[in-house]
Structure formats: C-alpha cells, structure tokens
C-alpha cells in the first residue's frame, strides 16, 4: 500500500536516551538516523510493523526557538502529551521483559473484561498504554 500514515513523531528530551530506551527496553529497532548539522532525523519502528515509523524528535533549533523548545520539553515532562498505545500478545510477559530492563511502569498489568493493560512512560515523560486484546 502506498497511501498511509508513515511517520508520527514524539518529542523527547534527549535523542540518544530515547533511542536507547525504545530499542533496548521496548524492543523497537532503528529505521532512520541521519543528521544535518544540529538537526537529527531519528525514527524507530516496531519489528512487526515495517510500514510505520515512530519519530523521536528533540525540540530545539533549527525548528524551534529557545523559548518554544523549553515549552515543548516542559509539556512532555509534565505528561501532558497525548497517550500512545502499544498492542501486545501477552501484556504480563511484556511487562516482565520491559521491567527487567528498567522501564518505568505507571500501572501494573490489570485485567479489564478480558483485556489486560499496563502503563509506562519513556524517560522524557511520554505515556504509553500497553494492551493485550481480548482473545
């Protein structure tokens, strides 16, 4: 399919830190990591979802002035950005795997009417729900 959403981005406080988090602790892989001066275009993707990339972008020049960048970092750090959802086959297994790697969980796995969900945050403050659908 050639028509689709291909990249959706997050703001992160530090791209190296975010890269290590999403690759080593969540299990994503790097799709693109290129620089142009101070600018770094960095995307990762879920290994089972090659058509979609998650951008890990740092507020700052040349895209943002200093005050705007600071505001964006603050919004992320307050947890005010919209939630993200990760679908998994086995929420508890994923929780154990990620927790062993030091992921900061905000909610342990909970059963809700046949689905199981947990919550975690990335180092910057972006919040995720991890959901195992009803079988």
């Amino acid at each position: 399919m050639s028509q689709a959403v291909e990249v959706v981005g997050l703001y992160v406080r530090d791209q190296d830190e975010a890269l290590a988090f999403y690759v080593d602790k969540v299990g994503f892989r790097v799709h693109t990591d290129v620089r142009n001066g101070d600018y770094r275009w960095l995307t990762v993707q879920h290994p089972d979802q090659p058509s979609f990339q998650l951008g890990l972008f740092a507020p700052g020049p040349p895209v943002h002035d200093a005050a705007t960048a600071q505001t964006l970092r603050a919004i992320v750090a307050k947890g005010a950005m919209p939630p993200l959802v990760l679908n998994v086959d086995d929420c508890r297994a994923a929780y154990d795997w990620m927790r062993a790697r030091g992921v900061e969980f905000t909610q342990e796995p909970m059963d809700r009417y046949g689905t199981v969900d947990a919550g975690f945050r990335d180092p910057s403050g972006n919040g995720w729900k991890m959901i195992q659908a009803r079988r």
Partner: protein
C-alpha cells in the same frame, strides 16, 4: 537538536515563567504514583522523596506544574475512583469510601460533594436509573478498556445522557442483594 537541553547543566534554561523540565519529570513521577495507588496515604514527605526534592519545594512546585496542590490532586483522584465504583460495582457507599482510601465516612461524603456537587447516593441512584441503557455497554466498555485512562470521560458521557433523559430512579436500593448476583462487580481495585 537539544544538545543544550540536558547533559550540559549550564545549558539548561529556566525562563521565569517556566519550570525546569527535569524537575517537572520528577514531579510527574510523584503524580503517577498517586494515580497508581490513590487509596494509599501520600504525605508530602513521601511524594517529595519520589520526586527527589525538599518537602517545601515539592508542594509549591507541584501546584505550579499541575495547577492544584498535591493533596487536592489526591482527593480528586480518590473521588473519581469512588464515582466509578459507585456506578460500576455493588459495593456499599461505606465500602467504596474505605476502598478508595478514606478513613472517615463523614470526610468522604463532604469531599465527595465538594468535588462532584452531589452525594454518593445521588450518583449511585442515577447510575442505577440508567441501568436499562447498559445493554449497549459491552461495546462501550470494551472501547473504554482500549482507550487509555478515559474511563471518566466515558462515565461522564453516560451521566450526561442520563441527565438529559431524566429517567425516574428505580427503587433498587432495597433489592440490592438480590441483584448482586446478576451484575458483575467491575471494581477497579488498583
């Protein structure tokens, strides 16, 4: 890129109107902990420890970051949980009060009215009145379960629908125990 944002301390800018993002991230951690266990006691000392700041600094910074003092935030979260339990479980009002972290029924009722504008029983009565609408709920509930942290909004919508319809309350208080087996206890205990 945010080279100046983090590693080099000298580059961390604090404009007068804004708080340091690193501090905000640690305050968020304390808020997350309250969200995860709002029935527990969260004295400022405990929250400050989670955030790694002094007690005096914590209370002031939390309010600046999230718009309400930490204690008020906790009370609000507890009442939100209580509202959900009143509607979605068969727990008595007293049981709901204790399950959501209150030590006194009187305090629970007072804060509940303060935050919601209604009494626990009024909310339960209206939830019961709308029980006939719950035939559609499985799909709703399913989507609510998929929708991160939006339970309140879903319940809010239901309440608005009920308010608009103004259905007369069913007198179900008396046969609560007989209906117990027919309704699942959708208690969100954590």
């Amino acid at each position: 890129m945010a080279r100046a944002s983090r590693a080099s301390g000298a580059g961390v800018r604090r404009d007068p109107a804004g708080q340091d993002p690193e501090l905000l991230r640690r305050l968020l951690r304390a808020r997350d902990r309250m969200d995860a266990a709002s029935h527990e006691n969260w004295p400022v000392r405990r929250l400050a420890r989670v955030s790694g700041v002094s007690e005096a600094h914590f209370a002031r910074s939390f309010k600046q970051a999230f718009g309400v003092p930490p204690h008020r935030y906790l009370l609000t979260r507890r009442i939100e949980r209580a509202v959900a339990l009143l509607r979605d479980s068969e727990l008595s009002v007293t049981e709901v009060a204790f399950a959501t972290g209150w030590e006194s029924l009187g305090t629970f009722g007072r804060i509940f009215r303060d935050i919601t504008g209604e009494s626990p029983r009024a909310i339960r009565t209206r939830a019961r009145a709308s029980a006939h609408e719950l035939g559609q709920v499985p799909a709703c509930v399913l989507s609510a379960a998929h929708r991160p942290d939006l339970t309140i909004s879903v319940l809010e919508k239901r309440r608005q629908q009920v308010g608009a319809i103004k259905t007369a309350p069913k007198p179900r208080r008396s046969d609560e125990s007989s209906s117990r087996s027919g309704r699942s206890v959708r208690a969100r205990s954590r």
